[in-house]
Symmetry: C2
Subunit: 121 residues, 2 copies
């Protein structure tokens, strides 16, 4: 079974993938078809809705990329990891922590929390 | 509806309650009857099992108390907070972060993660 770190790396790669066809392929490979995503600002269910959320975030922050922060951990069917969003060569603008419930090697649900948000948000 | 902080305070009070009758009363008041609890070391479902987990931790660490760390946050049906376990007058020995799914004012599930564990654990 994929480790929490591998799951997190797949997840970050998906959020950074700007090619819609490759994003859909990654979703099919690494998320269950009924998967759900929720954070304080948005939520979606199923690949099409989740893909829409990712595309919207990429459009809002076109010059930014997601990266993993620290070491993912997990046990049983859950995993936890933290991430940062910011310009490649600058400080993170947003940070968060995601809780994943997995179904084998696929993500079944994500519950996201924000750890750092811009003062103007 | 109770805030994430109130929910977290109720939760910490339950873990610190050593009187079995009062613990059962707190569980009935603040957790749904089918509630589940899971962390890297143990899991349980329903008030009787969860009460057993709490009692076992209290027996293992009789001189320790739980306290909240930082500010709980949440949105919709989820809440997140961090806690410490240690002697009243000393440094925390264990720290963790719990993710709560709520059903109104009651806890429906807890997914716990450990942030600090003793080097000998």
């Amino acid at each position: 079974m994929r480790t929490a770190t591998q799951l997190a790396e797949d997840y970050i790669a998906l959020w950074n993938e700007t090619d819609a066809a490759r994003r859909k392929s990654l979703l099919a490979k690494t998320w269950t078809s009924e998967a759900s995503y929720g954070d304080p600002m948005m939520k979606g269910e199923g690949h099409a809705e989740i893909d829409g959320l990712i595309a919207a975030v990429q459009q809002r922050f076109p010059a930014f990329r997601f990266s993993l922060v620290g070491t993912p951990d997990g046990y049983g069917e859950v995993a936890r990891f933290s991430w940062a969003l910011g310009p490649n060569d600058g400080d993170a603008v947003v940070r968060g922590t995601d809780i994943v419930h997995r179904d084998g090697d696929k993500i079944a649900s994500v519950t996201g929390f924000l750890d750092l948000v811009p003062a103007t948000a």
